[in-house]
């Protein structure tokens, strides 16, 4: 659900567009006095909210939460789900799941981690009265509907009937319908537990807790975080953490509003890790940081969407294919984004199992065929492309427009919206008939996460199916994948569903995101995981 680095964009974009070209320069000399107590300093945009597991749905807050909380499952090098806090997560029918916790985990206040902590946290997040942003993640659990009767109606219960504590370290989750990917979901921020001290007398999470969350992960907060005033979040390693611990003791998140500024701070040696380098800094980062510059795949995908639900202009699939073939993805990835994006050739991102290189044949640039097919399909004479001008989208949308103008011989107007929500509003009200930009970053690493939220029929009303595209066969394949006996078998069905998308093209995949990071000489072993977070257990201070 998270697509960009949230609120920081608001302040940063104006500058981004105008930032002067970075000058190349000498290699940083750095003052390498690495004392044991100096923290590892990491770049962060200001989290949008205080720290509530069920309400932290943007990447900045999630990065902090991931350092303070340990998830039930993690993801290994081979993109497989591995148990972390969970001893085992098992299900015979993909509907009733039994989750056992490993012994030895304690909260930062010394209390023991118990199964009830999970049940409490999940019930809290799923209750509409608490208005938690990640509420929807619990909708697959049996009893969620009782906690979400809708606007103006009172919630009659505080508990989902699908959650049951068996003993101190075991609980069961019953889903409304089978879902083979459920285990994969459990690494997401929303599924962290909450200690009993988090709740006040009124049953709500207290502000004091949200300012200084007590977690069960490898770092604990030094002091409460005053949002709006504090410029750093300081953490210290929790030495009673039973899993693999980080090799350094102090971690400091430094908050920046401008990505360029953070990069300058990194170059000056005042920062150690910056994991969201702006395109304007890439050339300089490569030359100045050499091996300490990282360029890795990111699970995000960018699309051009069609308002299929109410605008029949694009009804002909041949026309949609022609538009796709007319887009010069290579040039956009290399020139517009300085190589920080990759041309898309599937609806599933290469970072995940299920991706098939070149699966989308009509994603290959073929101007001649595009023109021919467009004319034959009697495509519209004018096209409109909408985008939100609060993110870095103007350049690539203009590039797409140019491709279409040149190759399809049509008039193309580009329409900026002040923010993304404005496009969504107009799509909801069916007042905008043009094509629109769209982006997707995964919430949990499963191929399924590229399909259900964006293209399934049920998601038209409440989810992220902004195209309003609906296909019965597609929905059925998803259901088969969801109830498949194994992950592998499920993947087969998801790929078949992916094939339908490629055949129907309700969206046009344009590029895959990449993560560009750089780090200082003070640290080594910086690695980024599938959820775009730093693997703190791998990072070391350099001698």
């Amino acid at each position: 659900m998270r697509v960009t680095k949230g609120a920081r964009l608001a302040a940063g974009t104006a500058l981004l567009a105008l930032a002067p070209a970075a000058c190349g320069g000498s290699t940083s000399s750095g003052s390498g006095t690495a004392s044991a107590d100096l923290p590892v300093r990491m770049e962060l945009g200001e989290p949008q909210k205080l720290f509530y597991p069920g309400d932290t749905v943007e990447s900045e807050g999630a990065e902090v939460m991931a350092a303070v909380f340990a998830p039930l499952v993690g993801y290994d090098e081979n993109k497989q789900v591995v148990d972390e806090v969970a001893e085992s997560i098992e299900s015979k029918d993909n509907r009733v799941w039994t989750i056992k916790l490993k012994p030895g985990y304690t909260w930062h206040n010394g209390e023991k981690l118990i199964a009830q902590n999970y049940v409490d946290a999940w019930n809290y997040a799923a209750d509409q009265d608490n208005a938690q942003g990640a509420n929807g993640f619990f909708s697959r659990i049996d009893g969620w509907a009782d906690l979400n009767p809708g606007e103006g109606r009172t919630v009659s219960t505080k508990e989902m009937k699908g959650l049951k504590v068996v003993d101190e370290s075991t609980f069961t989750v019953t889903l409304a319908k089978p879902f083979s990917q459920f285990k994969t979901m459990l690494g997401y921020t929303a599924f962290y537990p909450l200690p009993t001290v988090a709740f006040g007398g009124d049953g709500k999470i207290t502000e004091a807790y949200a300012k200084k969350p007590i977690g069960q992960g490898y770092f604990q907060f030094d002091k409460p975080f005053n949002k709006g005033t504090d410029q750093s979040i300081d953490l210290t390693r929790y030495d009673k953490f039973p899993g693999t611990k980080p090799k350094f003791t102090k971690l400091r998140f430094k908050l920046y509003t401008s990505s360029e500024t953070a990069f300058n701070d990194l170059a000056a040696g005042n920062l150690d890790i910056h994991d969201s380098l702006p395109p304007s800094a890439i050339a300089r980062a490569k030359s100045e940081f050499g091996e300490r510059y990282l360029d890795e795949a990111d699970a995000g995908v960018a699309y051009i969407g069609f308002p299929m639900q109410y605008n029949k202009t694009y009804a002909n699939v041949k026309v949609r294919e022609a538009i796709s073939m007319a887009i010069d993805r290579e040039t956009i990835a290399d020139k517009v984004f300085s190589g920080t994006r990759a041309p898309a050739d599937d609806f599933i991102n290469p970072l995940l199992d299920g991706y098939r290189p070149g699966a989308c044949a009509v994603c290959v640039y073929d101007p001649a065929k595009a023109q021919e097919q467009y004319t034959a399909g009697n495509g519209p004479k004018t096209l409109e492309l909408g985008y939100n001008s609060d993110g870095p989208h103007k350049e690539w949308i203009e590039a797409v427009a140019n491709s279409l103008r040149a190759n399809l011989d049509v008039e193309v107007t580009v329409k900026p919206f002040e923010k993304f929500a404005a496009i969504l509003d107009e799509l909801d009200q069916k007042t905008y008939g043009g094509m629109f930009r769209m982006g997707w970053a995964i919430d949990y690493p499963s191929a399924e996460n590229y399909l259900t939220p964006l293209f399934s029929t049920v998601e038209i009303k409440t989810g992220s199916n902004y195209a309003g595209w609906s296909n019965k066969e597609f929905d059925e394949l998803l259901a088969k994948g969801d109830s498949a006996a194994t992950r592998e078998e499920g993947l087969k069905f998801y790929q078949q569903a992916d094939d339908i998308l490629i055949r129907e093209m309700p969206y046009i995949p344009v590029y895959f995101y990449r993560t560009n990071a750089a780090f200082s000489q003070n640290v080594k072993g910086v690695k980024i995981d599938l959820l775009n977070q730093i693997k703190w257990t791998e990072v070391e201070k350099a001698g």
Binding site: A11, S28, A131, T229, L255, T257, S258, N264, F420, A421
Partner: protein
């Protein structure tokens, strides 16, 4: 005198009320749903949006919402952001940073601007004067954005890489040193204007009859310039500085973003963007208050500088 000050302060009340109403109305009229805006790029569950709209009285008409706000304000409550954080707390911290920045800038303006202007006026028509005129012209014409990034790169990054740790690149964790560079960038154009203003009015005054009289009486040059010329030239300068204080506080968006200072400029920008009425109105109210006070101080300073000016 005291009655004059009191009268001026009482006059401020309707100005403040009018300003809050106006700003509240303007933010209210911005397109888009503030709850959706607070969620950034992702779409929120419509059910949750409803609950939140109810919580923040967003379904009520404009005047009712404004009423809730004013009632809260009279009780000393600035309201909360849509993320549930107290606006009063946010403002306290942010204003501290911006006031530090603005004061740094103001001091730089006064010292550098008046100093250079004085120097240029005394060297009127000679090389030093021309050089300063040219330099200020450059300073006026280069946008803050450029001076900001260039100085940050040269004095912040390159100097530090060369082993000289003088100006922090960003942030306020290094104390007052963190304000030097951004203060200068923020003051940049004003320094140039102030230099030219000082120079021009001094050149004018130095030609006046009473200065010739003073020189003819045999007064030392320092006394002629300091007591007789500069003091008279200060009146327009004080006016400029007074008005500039407000402008510095409001105009710090770019400087604060480049140098990553968590000040009011940044906050105002993102709050307008997120349509957070309480924050925008709260900040603007305080800014209006600062403007009013600065103007009052300027008016009172006139009387100090020129005894002929009196207030009843």
């Amino acid at each position: 005198m005291n009655r004059y000050i009191l009268r001026r302060l009482i006059q401020a009340i309707p100005v403040l009320l009018g300003a809050t109403l106006l700003i509240y109305a303007i933010v209210f009229a911005l397109p888009g749903d503030p709850i959706a805006a607070s969620a950034g790029e992702k779409r929120m569950d419509p059910n949750i949006v409803d609950v939140l709209r109810e919580q923040y009285h967003l379904n009520d008409p404009f005047l009712v919402q404004y009423w809730y706000y004013i009632v809260g304000l009279l009780g000393g409550d600035f309201g909360t952001t849509f993320a549930g954080v107290g606006v009063g707390d946010i403002m306290a911290g942010k204003f501290q940073v911006t006031i530090n920045l603005a004061v740094t800038a103001l001091v730089m303006e006064a010292v550098i601007g008046v100093g250079l202007g004085l120097y240029a006026a005394l060297r009127h028509g000679r090389a030093g004067d021309s050089l300063i005129l040219a330099a200020t012209l450059v300073l006026i014409s280069v946008p803050v954005l450029v001076t900001g990034f260039v100085l940050q790169l040269l004095l912040g990054v390159k100097l530090k890489q060369a082993g000289i740790d003088l100006f922090p690149v960003a942030g306020v964790s290094e104390g007052w040193r963190g304000y030097l560079l951004p203060g200068f960038v923020l003051a940049g154009t004003s320094i140039a204007y102030l230099t030219r203003l000082t120079r021009n009015s001094l050149v004018e005054i130095l030609r006046a009859d009473y200065i010739r009289t003073a020189v003819a009486k045999g007064l030392p040059r320092s006394r002629v310039v300091g007591r007789h010329a500069l003091r008279n030239a200060l009146i327009p300068l004080i006016t400029y500085l007074g008005a500039d204080l407000g402008a510095l506080m409001g105009g710090a968006v770019i400087t604060e973003t480049i140098f990553n200072l968590p000040g009011i400029g940044q906050q105002l920008f993102s709050s307008v963007y997120l349509r957070e009425q309480p924050v925008v109105v709260g900040i603007v109210t305080v800014l209006v208050l600062i403007y009013i006070l600065a103007n009052l101080v300027v008016d009172l300073l006139y009387a100090v500088l020129d005894p002929r000016i009196r207030y009843e």
